[in-house]
Symmetry: C2
Amino acid sequence: MTKIDEMGARAKEASQEVAALSLEKRNAVLKQIARLLEEEHASIESANQKDLATAGDLTGPMQKRLTINASVLKGISSSLFSLIDLKDPLAGPYPSWVHETGFKIVKKTVPLGVVAMVYEARPNVTVDAAALAIKSGNAVILRGGKEAIQTNIALATLIQKALEQEGLNPAIVQLIEDTSHDSVNELLGLRKYVDVLIPRGSKGFIDFVVENAKVPVIETGAGNTHIFVDESADQEEALTVIVNAKTSKPAVCNAAEKLLVHEAIAADFLPKVVAALMEKGVEIRGDQAVQAIDSRVEAATDPDWETEYNDLIMAIHIVKDVDQAIDWINTYTTHHSETILSENAANVAKFMQQVDAAVVYQNVSSRFTDGFEFGFGAEIGISTQKLHARGPMGLPALTTIKYEVFGEGQVRN
Amino acid sequence: MTKIDEMGARAKEASQEVAALSLEKRNAVLKQIARLLEEEHASIESANQKDLATAGDLTGPMQKRLTINASVLKGISSSLFSLIDLKDPLAGPYPSWVHETGFKIVKKTVPLGVVAMVYEARPNVTVDAAALAIKSGNAVILRGGKEAIQTNIALATLIQKALEQEGLNPAIVQLIEDTSHDSVNELLGLRKYVDVLIPRGSKGFIDFVVENAKVPVIETGAGNTHIFVDESADQEEALTVIVNAKTSKPAVCNAAEKLLVHEAIAADFLPKVVAALMEKGVEIRGDQAVQAIDSRVEAATDPDWETEYNDLIMAIHIVKDVDQAIDWINTYTTHHSETILSENAANVAKFMQQVDAAVVYQNVSSRFTDGFEFGFGAEIGISTQKLHARGPMGLPALTTIKYEVFGEGQVRN
């Protein structure tokens, strides 16, 4: 047995214990974690300092994501208390019915079992993922990025302490300390123990996981999202929505990356939208037709159309009609969030039906694709696949069903 | 583009068309298929004769599965009419709610898109899978076994004729005529076009698919199912349930394969159950403790415990208590159906909670694990995984959700 195998076996065993806990007990663990985060904040911050000291190569935004300070800890703690307030994702009433021979079938909601999370340099995910797993009755195996390893070890140790203080098996939450590729590869093959693996990170990383995993995976997050401005769009409103979707938080997956403009309004609308975006510091790229209308636009090349910039860059393309917009989007979409700005009901209906994405918007900024904004009270991630969960995932995404059948000796003829 | 790639592209395009059809139109296609099966039964049967003529190597049960005659065609036709009567799996009302800024979120039920089915020598699956896909608004790519290829070609041609007669794209249902391993391998990598792949076949085949697929897969069917006879079991009832679960249809996945007996009743109960099973022609295997009690029992070896016999063979093992039974089952289960025969409420509750299977029975034959017996009116297969669908799968397993958001220019701060 390798070390990862042993962790899998321990997680599987621990999953029985956490699945059987009352809601009160699961919430008590979360409270204990919050308490320890406050008590032991100094040791977490000092571990984080070690990570930051060796993180000289990281860009500013990455350094920021890696940093744990008093205000980040306060945010983590307040997430824990929000999670405590959420209703039990395992609670009934469960659907049930009686077979003609008299036995009863109960369709119960149960935890998935062992959840694995693989993520990059965001140590807050360590607490977040552990807390979501515990609240939904699952054991979890965490594999964070090497940039955050000291912080992650400190946080995982603290969480295990909280579990032990509540008299529980610390293997309910385990961290893989080996940050080499080998540990990820091994985790991807751990079919015997892992019920679902959720990767968080760049599109390249998620593709790697999906292509190589033998365990069940929920794809999350990659967002090459488009906005189509129809001929009938309210142009003032369109400018507001586009600027918000592109610039309010450009590094996240629900930010807009591409703009498609109906040819009938291109000459009029393009200079206005280019000006509004440039004013916010956005670099605009486009094909020749776009450049012909507005010379401030730089040339787009083929890779632009499939790239998620996560930055203040937007590429623009002109389309003939809603059908061409739909075809274009279905060619390049990462199935996350897609938007039509239009007052034409027929075009909106067609776009809603035919665009293959988790969330399709009419006249709303795609920045709302988010578990909290959708009212789920928590977010495991944004699923861009169709099986099990799609779009923002709340706690129910970490559960499955189990049929329990109770009878008196019924047999089948 | 390879041939399979082209089929994928055509299926993706056709999936838009079938997704937009009214329930009436989808049902009209099913009716048309039923009509053509009656009209053209002679050509189907003659294609089937060609397959049977080259199937000399197959065992009796396999030959039987491969055969299409008047009575099989009648069965297929009556399945089509049952499917027509089922309610629309895509129909609303859909949950919807309003965000605090005033936009509306609708959680719609939509088809998965392109479903791929890979199966062995059962040509009835060709019609069945096509019909389930059409009813749920999906396009489907079928890849049947080489033993049934002539029959499958005839059936797929007939289904495409029905689609064309209804004015629809025949690529809604496509059959891969290449029965080499290459075509399966290519299908497993077709991430661009295939939304879900459902394999049907032996455990070895399904494991191969799960380990090699890059497309999303729903694991189905493998059933190494156990029955645990607790100390408190009603022994007369236990004999009836065990004999039914083992012998009423031994070749199917919900038939019992293993028997665990509580040590406190072993000396008394084992000779009775061995006699009852042997009377039905079942070969009994067991470890030394079982053989010591009943000398008619043959020796079981390690592979026995993980083998799905699909035959009149049963292996027996003695356990100390319900905990040991649960551990044993969780070690060897294929997560399909597991049974406890017991009158002890605490043991039943523990078994129900801790056994990791789609369906867990108390005092009922596991032969009831079936979409029709569960009241779903249809069956895509029995999912032995936890994501998306678990246990018998009805039409909803071929659907997913999509969030449609309607607003008036809302942006996120």
